[in-house]
């Protein structure tokens, strides 16, 4: 009996004589075969446990390393996908396609309906000249715009390592796309109204459409002030014709007719 047991027992519960007699009597020992069997079982179980312990010990570090590796790979993949042109070219391409769809689509409808000048003009040529001008000045201006767009979205020096730069690039690019898309939608809406049964379109609407078209392609030969006043716009067109810039003049004439369907061209256009 241990010390706790002695302290815990008082009076009749504890009898040293009985305890001594019992201890003298109870001398049996565990058979060695039983010992061997139990210890063998324990050793076998400990082997499994050791393996499990090893696995449990390495499980968390391995899981952490795997998570870290996957995150790193994902980040690198993201950087790799954002670095090349996709940031640049989709913006400019989308913008260009928007301009083309806005300006070029409604043109044939107006070509057959408005004026003799328009009838005499070559519609496909006009369309092409509006969307893809062969004029080196216009083309240069367009390229410059694209370059400026690209440079604002992408730093060719290589300072694009951080995700913040990429986020800014994406934001700038998306803003440009949204602006262009918004302007194009306004122009399309105006042109739809024009196409509908409202021949007496007001001049305010025409001016708005003109300004919308001006926003779409600011590198046109006529200035914003000229586009705001039909007479000045008309004068600009006639000046282009006098200068021999017929493709630009035809393109401007198409746009002019779209914006000002009620304008009396013969009054100040002596060539007609």
């Amino acid at each position: 009996m241990n010390q706790d047991g002695e302290n815990n027992l008082r009076g009749d519960e504890s009898d040293p004589l009985i305890s001594a007699e019992y201890r003298a009597t109870a001398t049996e020992r565990t058979p060695p075969t039983l010992d061997a069997a139990v210890l063998k079982t324990a050793a076998a179980a400990a082997g499994d446990s050791g393996l499990r312990g090893f696995t449990a010990f390495w499980f968390r570090p391995l899981a952490f390393v795997a998570t870290l590796g996957l995150s790193l790979a994902l980040l690198l993949e993201l950087n790799h996908s954002l670095q090349p042109q996709p940031v640049i070219s989709p913006a400019s391409e989308v913008g260009r396609s928007e301009v083309q769809s806005v300006v070029a689509d409604p043109a044939p409808a107006f070509l057959g309906a408005t004026s003799e000048i328009q009838r005499s003009a070559d519609a496909p040529t006009n369309k092409a000249s509006v969307t893809q001008s062969k004029d080196p000045v216009v083309e240069t201006g367009r390229l410059k715009r694209q370059e400026s767009t690209a440079s604002s979205a992408y730093d060719p020096v290589g300072n694009v390592d951080t995700s913040a730069d990429f986020a800014e690039m994406i934001e700038a690019s998306s803003k440009q796309i949204q602006e262009q898309h918004g302007v194009a939608e306004i122009a399309i809406e105006g042109l739809k109204q024009t196409r509908s049964d409202k021949p007496e379109q007001s001049r305010e609407v025409a001016a708005f459409q003109a300004s919308a078209l001006l926003l779409v392609d600011p590198a046109r030969p006529c200035t914003e002030e000229q586009l705001a006043v039909p007479e000045m716009w008309w004068q600009c067109i006639s000046d282009l014709e006098e200068d021999g810039r017929y493709s630009e003049a035809n393109a401007e004439l198409d746009l002019f007719n779209q914006a000002n369907p009620d304008f009396e061209a013969t009054e100040i256009y002596p060539s007609q």
Partner: protein, 179 residues
């Protein structure tokens, strides 16, 4: 046990060597049958080994060990129903093969009386007595192992001691009682 939980087999062996004999004697006197005692003994240690993963140090290991042993013994009784013939237990059951003939004869009288008295004790009293003598448990721990309150354990131990004392000091009266 915590070291064995971490895979230290040597720690388990130390633990086993500390408790194996007393546990064996406890089960031998509870079961009153050597084969059954060995079966239950193996079952107890098997459960201890299996439960090492969930082992928490909430009490002394001895208390934990004997609680398992007590439950295994109860299960053994329920399974085999062999405990009914306890009064027919062979006194030589507890003989130590290492003892010589003369020494065995000298020990025999006292041992026989004590062993017979032990076998005649009610299961609960014998259980409490053995937990007290073999495991060295306190009344609180005995109560915890047997699933009774402290006063009940104390009462059982008192009765057990009283009967054993009477058997040793008054063998004739004990023999009459037994018959």
């Amino acid at each position: 046990m915590l070291r064995y939980k971490d895979g230290d087999v040597a720690a388990f062996e130390t633990l086993y060597r500390r408790h194996n004999d007393s546990l064996y004697r406890y089960l031998l006197r509870c079961c009153l049958d050597r084969d059954s005692a060995e079966d239950v003994f193996q079952e107890v240690w098997g459960k201890i080994i299996k439960s090492r993963g969930n082992y928490r140090r909430t009490a002394k290991f001895t208390t934990f060990l004997y609680r398992v042993a007590h439950n295994c013994f109860i299960d053994h009784i329920r399974r085999n129903k062999r405990h009914l013939g306890k009064t027919d237990a062979d006194p030589d059951l507890f003989a130590n093969p290492a003892d010589g003939t003369e020494l065995a004869a000298e020990k025999g009288l006292v041992r026989d009386r004590l062993e017979i008295a032990l076998t005649t004790l009610p299961d609960e009293q014998r259980d409490v007595f053995l937990l007290h003598e073999e495991a060295g448990l306190t009344l609180d721990n005995i109560a915890l192992v047997t699933g009774v309150n402290r006063e009940t354990a104390k009462s059982r131990l008192r009765y057990a001691m009283k009967k054993l004392k009477a058997a040793l000091t008054e063998p004739a009266h004990s023999a009459e009682t037994q018959s």
